[in-house]
């Protein structure tokens, strides 16, 4: 996945080695250590027994590693509910956003309807401050009697990730050569069928990257979940907030929770890191 670009640009290979390269490795190593240290800290705390967590001064690695914190985590009354909510809401909202956004992106990529203005109008939704949208969404959900229902949260997340899907897929679909679907249509394939059976399979890696980035944004979202969910629909980020604001914070429990939330997304994210730039810049920069 993370193959070096040197072979493609040819620049790296042609360049002479200089003392800067050693400095580069040194600086990048130190930076990487700085990036990884906080994550190491919660991982090792999650494996420490209580007495080691509260040692003063702190100890930097567990002497008697234990899974007790994870056992405590899974004994929390809300945890399975929150995991299930996060999983259903993430999956459903991602599916809705992809189902609505991918055909739209295909039309935009192939017909250019609405000129250059339309994609930017779509982007407007993404650029709007979330805090400015959360009150009307709260009141809409309240008026519809949908507070504490996953439907409201799913619809909200599908709405906010739709622009991401359209922009990412616009780029991926534009890269599929138009000749292939024209050939399919000459063979009598209808346009929707050519899209589903010819174009989409060729754009499958892009679709997967889009799905993962969308799921990542939804899984990690906090503000709307905080406002729209109650006990029944509470997602993992809201549960984190709930546990952090307890009178006494159980650090082992919190760290186990952090690892549980972060690990799957880090794994998925690294799988599609090649396409991450395009997703994070909504197509403005090709990675």
């Amino acid at each position: 996945m993370a193959k070096s670009r040197a072979t493609r640009t040819g620049r790296g290979a042609a360049r002479r080695r200089s003392p800067w390269d050693g400095a580069a490795v040194l600086i990048l190593s130190l930076t990487s250590a700085g990036v990884l240290f906080p994550l190491y800290w919660i991982l090792q705390t999650s494996l420490k027994p209580a007495i080691e967590q509260l040692a003063i001064p702190p100890i930097w690695f567990p002497h008697a590693p234990t899974l007790a914190n994870y056992a405590t985590l899974f004994r929390q009354p809300d945890i399975f509910n929150a995991i299930r909510n996060s999983l259903t809401i993430t999956t459903a909202a991602t599916a809705v956003a992809l189902a609505l956004g991918t055909p739209a992106a295909y039309v935009l990529a192939r017909t250019g309807i609405g000129g250059r203005g339309l994609p930017f109008a779509i982007l407007l939704v993404r650029m709007t401050p979330p805090i400015a949208m959360v009150l009307p969404f709260f009141l809409f959900a309240k008026a519809a009697g949908l507070l504490d229902s996953s439907a409201a949260v799913i619809a909200t997340y599908a709405f906010f990730t739709l622009p991401v899907v359209v922009w990412m897929m616009l780029g991926f679909l534009a890269e599929v050569p138009v000749e292939l679907e024209e050939a399919a249509q000459v063979d009598g394939c209808s346009r929707p069928r050519a899209f589903l059976q010819v174009v989409l399979p060729l754009a499958a890696p892009g679709l997967a990257a889009t799905a993962i980035l969308t799921a990542l944004l939804i899984w990690n979202e906090f503000l709307f979940a905080l406002v729209l969910t109650r006990a029944r629909t509470r997602t993992l980020p809201v549960l984190v907030n709930f546990l952090v604001t307890q009178r006494t914070v159980d650090y082992g429990l919190m760290c186990a929770m952090g690892v549980l939330m972060a690990a799957p997304m880090v794994l998925f994210g690294l799988l599609v890191q090649k396409h991450l730039v395009r997703g994070l810049t909504l197509g403005a920069v090709k990675g």
């Binding site: 400015a132 009141l139 809409f140 760290c255």
Partner: protein, 320 residues
């Protein structure tokens, strides 16, 4: 996505001829061909546009009314521009705006400089570049609430490793200060946490920009005997300009709307020392449940955000 299965089998090979349907189907196909694109776009655009406009219009209507959710005995009433008059004379608004700027400007500047430096280093394709790049991406994937909690823990005076590290480095005062409870240190701490999260984003975008620069200008410069500094200032920076502006635009908008990490780490405290605009807006709307005033503050945040975006987009258009 269920359609992907059968599609994949056909993608590589020749397509089986599809039997032609009758005239009725043909006419339907004709109608679809004529309006198909519009019909395909309609659900996505209708939902996006409809909900967006409804939410915006509702916010504007709310901002012109008094509606206290915690006092149902008071009727919801139209009050004209009173919420905006309150906003202009509310010192907490200006504190929040000042805090937002005091957070966003140094955060974006730091992330840009660190991101550019890392991108330039990675561009040299040093040993292990792919590994470093993967590691640097990880903070982008961690939920901000988890990041916020993690750093609060790291800074804990007794159980956290950072104060211990500060003391070991001889910074006794810093090592004995509860950073997140200090008016002077809370904002720098939030800036550093944000830099941990978002420097990789800057690095990624700028690296993509660097890799898109063609080799020819550098070859020409080598023939003319340009120095490394001249090459950087006269070739790299100007050609990197679009990527720089995109990175700055996205990051500034996000920094102006900074919320999750501050909510978890400080809740705006101590006092209002780290109460940024989004936190202030949240407190008015969902703490006091003063919906009319909350809507007015939302529109103010929207205007600040839009002003930032427009100034960047102007520059971007002038550049290209």
């Amino acid at each position: 996505m269920a359609e992907r299965g059968p599609g994949r089998e056909q993608a590589g090979g020749p397509f089986p001829p599809v039997p032609q349907v009758g005239t009725r189907g043909g006419r339907r196909a004709g109608l679809l061909a004529r309006w198909g694109p519009q019909l395909t776009l309609a659900p996505a655009l209708g939902l996006l546009g409809g909900i967006f406009l409804a939410a915006f219009a509702y916010t504007v209507a709310l901002s012109l009314s008094a509606w206290l959710l915690l006092r149902p005995e008071l009727p919801r009433a139209y009050v004209g521009l009173r919420n905006f008059q309150d906003l202009v004379s509310d010192p907490r608004v200006w504190t929040a705006l000042r805090n937002t700027l005091a957070f966003a400007l140094p955060a974006v500047a730091l992330e840009f400089l660190a991101g550019l430096a890392l991108a330039l280093l990675l561009q040299r394709e040093p040993r292990g570049a792919a590994f470093f790049k993967s590691v640097l991406l990880i903070p982008l994937m961690v939920a901000p609430v988890v990041t916020g909690f993690t750093w609060a823990f790291m800074l804990h005076l007794d159980f956290g490793p950072l104060p211990q590290l500060f003391r070991a480095l001889g910074l006794a005062t810093l090592g004995a200060t509860p950073v997140l409870a200090s008016r002077a240190l809370v904002m720098p701490a939030l800036v550093l946490v944000d830099a941990w999260i978002s420097t990789p984003f800057m690095m990624l975008v700028l690296l993509a920009g660097l890799q898109a620069i063609p080799p020819e200008p550098y070859e020409a410069a080598a023939v003319d005997g340009a120095s490394a500094r001249q090459r950087f200032l006269l070739i790299t920076l100007p050609l990197l300009r679009p990527a720089i502006l995109v990175a700055l635009l996205i990051r500034t908008i996000n920094a102006v709307n900074f919320f999750d990490v501050a909510f978890i780490m400080t809740g705006g405290g101590p006092g209002t020392a780290s109460e940024v605009l989004a936190l202030f807006n949240y407190r008015v709307t969902f703490g006091d449940f003063d919906l009319g005033y909350g809507a007015a503050v939302s529109l103010f945040v929207l205007v600040v955000s839009a002003a930032v975006s427009l100034s960047y987009i102007r520059t971007l258009q002038r550049a290209s």
